[in-house]
């Protein structure tokens, strides 16, 4: 069987908090349609929310002239789990992942912020962060799709 890739969402969102809600709603529906149970939908939704907040607030800094691109795909390949992949790309200045403090370290436990990336890693099967071209940060969130009965 040839690998297939189905695009479920391919859209630019303005750099607003409303976009966080909008993207979360659309992606939650896509996850439900693929058969993820409520707990997994919650984990996916929270990961998307944290990622969108980072893109809007820390990446694009609410800049009206910048957008957040969101892509969602469902990929199938023989001999492997189906993958639900969410890619979120901002147009900000970018950051170094290794410089993000570990929120579980004792000195950081009572920090007001800095848990978003950690939660994405806790809730998704795979998280990749890389610099986007020409500018910005691209975050890819991956979750294996539950098998259909």
């Amino acid at each position: 069987m040839e690998p297939t890739l189905k695009t479920l969402l391919d859209q630019d969102y303005p750099s607003t908090l409303q976009s966080v809600d909008d993207a979360e709603t659309v992606i939650l529906q896509a996850a439900a349609d693929l058969g993820f149970d409520e707990d997994e939908q919650h984990r996916i939704g929270m990961s998307v929310r944290e990622c969108m907040v980072n893109a809007v607030v820390h990446g694009n800094r609410y800049n009206r002239n910048k957008v957040v691109h969101v892509g969602v795909t469902h990929s199938c390949e023989a001999g492997a789990d189906d993958k639900f992949t969410v890619q979120i790309v901002d147009q900000g200045e970018g950051f170094e992942v290794q410089e993000v403090p570990d929120p579980l370290q004792e000195n950081n436990l009572l920090s007001h912020s800095g848990r978003g990336l950690f939660l994405m890693g806790a809730f998704m099967d795979d998280v990749k962060v890389r610099k986007a071209v020409p500018v910005g940060t691209e975050v890819t969130l991956v979750k294996s799709v539950p098998p259909r009965n």
């Binding site: 579980l104 009572l110 912020s113 848990r115 939660l119 806790a122």
Partner: protein, 114 residues
């Protein structure tokens, strides 16, 4: 639904019944304002009832932590009541569950304030 907060007094403990979503924006700022008002009125014993909180994100966690430290630094105490399974999981994942004094029953929580 965004967050709703209702404050009531049980003896010398201020109980804040929180319902809805504590997320970046309206939800987290409403909680911050509520705690700030209670501190301004010299309420030193605060119990946050989270049993009707359906969703909390990292910003909401940040507000809980800030509230906890602000109240403690002012000589007060903030405790948590009635965590839903998902909120409890979130606090355990972030290693904050043991930082907070968490209770399942209101009467027990009230008695825990010295």
């Amino acid at each position: 639904m965004s967050v709703k907060l209702n404050t009531r007094q049980v003896g010398d403990v201020s109980v804040v019944d929180v319902s809805g979503r504590i997320t970046l924006g309206e939800g987290s700022s409403a909680l911050r304002d509520c705690l700030r008002d209670l501190m301004a009125q010299n309420n030193k014993k605060i119990l946050l009832n989270l049993s009707e909180v359906s969703y909390i994100d990292s910003s909401g966690i940040g507000e809980l932590v800030s509230g906890f430290t602000t109240v403690a630094n002012s000589g007060g105490t903030l405790k948590l009541l009635g965590l839903t399974r998902r909120v409890k999981d979130l606090l355990q994942i972030t290693k904050l569950y043991t930082v907070f004094d968490v209770h399942e029953e209101e009467a027990h929580a009230i008695r825990a304030f010295v």
